[in-house]
């Protein structure tokens, strides 16, 4: 059983936009996308439950993404592949999914696990695009996952309850944060992470022409990215002992109560 987990490094703290490039400012500290920790955890559990197999972490991103990758190795993943190339910067969904699909193609895993979304761009569709490129079935919003005789069965969280969906392997799944409680890396894991195989690949090494990645390979153009408008006529209620009454009054006035 070979499981690939796609992970991303996201900027830590509040999001900032670089006005010049209209991209997310990635200059500060980064961390493993919180949703991806659930994907890693689920992959480790599946591997450990089956008693054999391999969990390989795959990421497309800047060299600094190695920090996020190290955390996944410390958690227990077996090895990592990072596709890092200046020409891939500024990739949109189309370009990123193309690069990622190529990297995954090379791994030919039985299962690809994604976190449901990234905390920086909030796209929540990359898994669908990658599954489409790989021509594999995809189960999204997975809150419970089981593998049985060559099939994956996912309990899918919806607004109205649960759907249970089964698909043949190889498949792609996107998990939610309800699926498990990700472990903390152990000290032994942290000390051992450095010794695990970590590959960094360029686009050329993956056989990807530069014009299929980055802005050149993107089908969307970011026209404007703006900070949210200030909340104009916000009213501030200082508590002089009657704040609750004044808030109720305000809500009544706006017909919200």
């Amino acid at each position: 059983m070979k499981i690939a987990v796609c992970v991303k490094q996201v900027p830590e703290g509040s999001r900032r936009i670089d006005a010049a490039t209209k991209r997310l400012d990635r200059s500060g500290e980064g961390a493993l996308n919180p949703y991806d920790a659930y994907a890693v955890e689920e992959a480790l559990r599946l591997r450990d439950a089956s008693g054999e197999g391999e969990v390989v972490v795959v990421s497309v991103g800047p060299a600094s993404a190695a920090d996020a990758i190290r955390k996944t190795l410390a958690m227990g993943a077996d090895r990592a592949v990072l596709v890092s190339d200046d020409a891939a910067a500024g990739s949109d969904l189309v370009a990123t999914s193309y690069v990622l699909a190529n990297a995954l193609e090379r791994e030919s895993s039985d299962l690809v696990v994604f976190g449901y979304q990234a905390a920086d761009s909030d796209g929540a569709v990359l898994w669908a695009a990658v599954a489409d490129r790989l021509r594999r079935p995809v189960v999204s919003q997975v809150a419970e996952l089981r593998l049985e005789s060559g099939r994956v069965r996912g309990k899918r969280q919806t607004e109205f309850g649960y759907d249970v969906i089964e698909a043949p392997l190889p498949a792609v799944v996107a998990v939610t944060d309800a699926i498990n409680e990700p472990r903390y890396p152990s000290l032994k894991g942290i000390m051992g992470a450095k010794r695990k195989p970590q590959e960094t690949l360029t686009l050329a090494e993956l056989g990807i022409e530069a014009e299929r990645a980055g802005e050149a390979g993107s089908r969307t153009v970011v026209l404007a990215l703006n900070e949210p408008p200030s909340r104009g006529e916000a009213r501030r209620i200082e508590d002089d002992g009657d704040a609750a009454a004044r808030i109720v009054e305000f809500l009544l006035e706006k017909r919200l109560l």
Binding site: A31, Y184, P185, I190, M191, A193
Partner: protein, 377 residues
């Protein structure tokens, strides 16, 4: 010169910080209020390998360097001192003597369960009549029929009386002017452990008085060479000071973080109090001193990891961060005003937990004596 931490060190920091914020912070106030020993947290810390960080893997530890250990203790103290001292006293005072001075058989017997965190160990040096003057121990051990028979008492001993405490290493007179270290297992007849002592802070940490009445331990429980007890405990304290110094930085950082956030939320005279220069200057001073204190602690840890002499720097780090944490806790509470005096505000706990950092493992005065000796005075 390179002041960057390695990637492992960064990952130790982010992991322990996450653990402290997610697992310790939510229960810290309750543990303090109920003076309850944090068994569940110790089990989780053990799972992560945090109960035996600097002990090599072959003995069940995590095999990290001193700097990683200091960073972990710092990050725990930033959130809660009781949990941090439970780890630090177990590691530096309880387990280290056996690792440093034990025979191979003693290491095999004790280290796997201690370094894995299944059991806790304590170090009993202080006595009612032997505090700063720790060499004035009155506890006696006589060799009799293949045993050491111990009579005497110890006071203020951390981690000795929990449900998972396995042993205490004590200093005792084994002859005239001859001090040796002996391991005493919990449950040995004649070894009495008091009820938990009531104290100003560290409420969730286990502190006990110990008594030994004709308490016989096997001959083989002598730790290291007979008569080397004095040098051994000095060496233990040298190393232990690095972790207590790390607690000083962690506590100061925790106090600063609370004050920094509070100063921006609290409004008086129509603006956040962080807009007043008097408040800003306190925060600026705290941030500056924390930076200096952290550099001292990491330098001492780094020297130890390089196998170089570190005792002078460790005493300096302990002294500086003990006093720094006092100023930081005081200022941080001041910035909180009356709210900081209330139990619901974490700063009140940090304020109470701080004082011991200027007393335990050598008072400020004792650190100055140690430093002066290193200066050749």
């Amino acid at each position: 010169m390179n002041l960057d931490l390695s990637q492992e060190h960064e990952l130790v920091r982010s992991t322990v910080r996450e653990f402290a914020v997610e697992r310790v912070a939510p229960v810290a106030e309750e543990l303090d209020r109920e003076s309850r020993f944090p068994y569940e947290l110790v089990a989780e810390l053990a799972e992560l390998g945090l109960m035996g960080m600097p002990i090599p893997e072959e003995y069940g530890g995590a095999g990290t360097d001193t700097l990683s250990y200091a960073i972990a203790v710092e990050e725990l103290t930033r959130i809660d001192s009781s949990v941090a001292i439970t780890v630090a006293a177990h590691t530096s005072l309880g387990t280290m003597p056996i690792y440093l001075f034990g025979t191979e058989a003693q290491k095999r017997e004790w280290l796997p369960r201690l370094a894995s965190g299944r059991n806790l160990a304590a170090f009993g040096l202080t006595e009612p009549e032997a505090g700063s003057d720790a060499g004035a121990t009155r506890t006696r051990a006589e060799a009799r029929d293949g045993s050491w028979v111990i009579n005497g008492s110890k006071i203020f001993i951390t981690n000795a009386g929990t449900d998972i405490s396995a042993c205490v290493t004590i200093t005792a007179l084994t002859g005239e002017g001859e001090i040796s270290n002996l391991i005493v297992s919990n449950g040995t007849p004649g070894y009495g452990i008091s009820q938990p002592m009531h104290k100003l802070g560290w409420h969730a940490s286990d502190t006990r008085e110990l008594s030994f009445e004709h308490c016989a331990v096997p001959e083989g429980n002598l730790l290291g060479e007979r008569g080397r007890g004095y040098q051994q405990f000095l060496e233990i304290l040298d190393g232990g000071r690095i972790s207590v110094a790390a607690m000083g930085v962690g506590l100061a950082q925790g106090a600063y973080d609370l004050a920094f956030a509070y100063a921006q939320e609290r409004r008086q005279f129509g603006r956040p109090i962080s807009k007043f220069q008097a408040v800003q200057f306190k925060l600026a001073d705290m941030a500056t001193e924390i930076e200096a204190g952290r550099a001292l602690v990491y330098k001492a840890a780094w020297l130890k990891d390089q196998g170089r002499p570190f005792a002078r720097e460790a005493a300096m780090a302990k002294l500086y961060t003990g006093e720094l944490s006092n100023r930081a806790a005081n200022w941080a509470l001041q910035i909180h005003g009356g709210y900081g005096y209330m139990d619901e505000y974490a700063i009140s706990r940090l304020y109470r937990d701080q004082k011991i950092l200027e007393i335990g493992e050598g008072t400020n005065e004792v650190q100055r004596m140690v430093i002066a000796r290193h200066l050749g005075l």
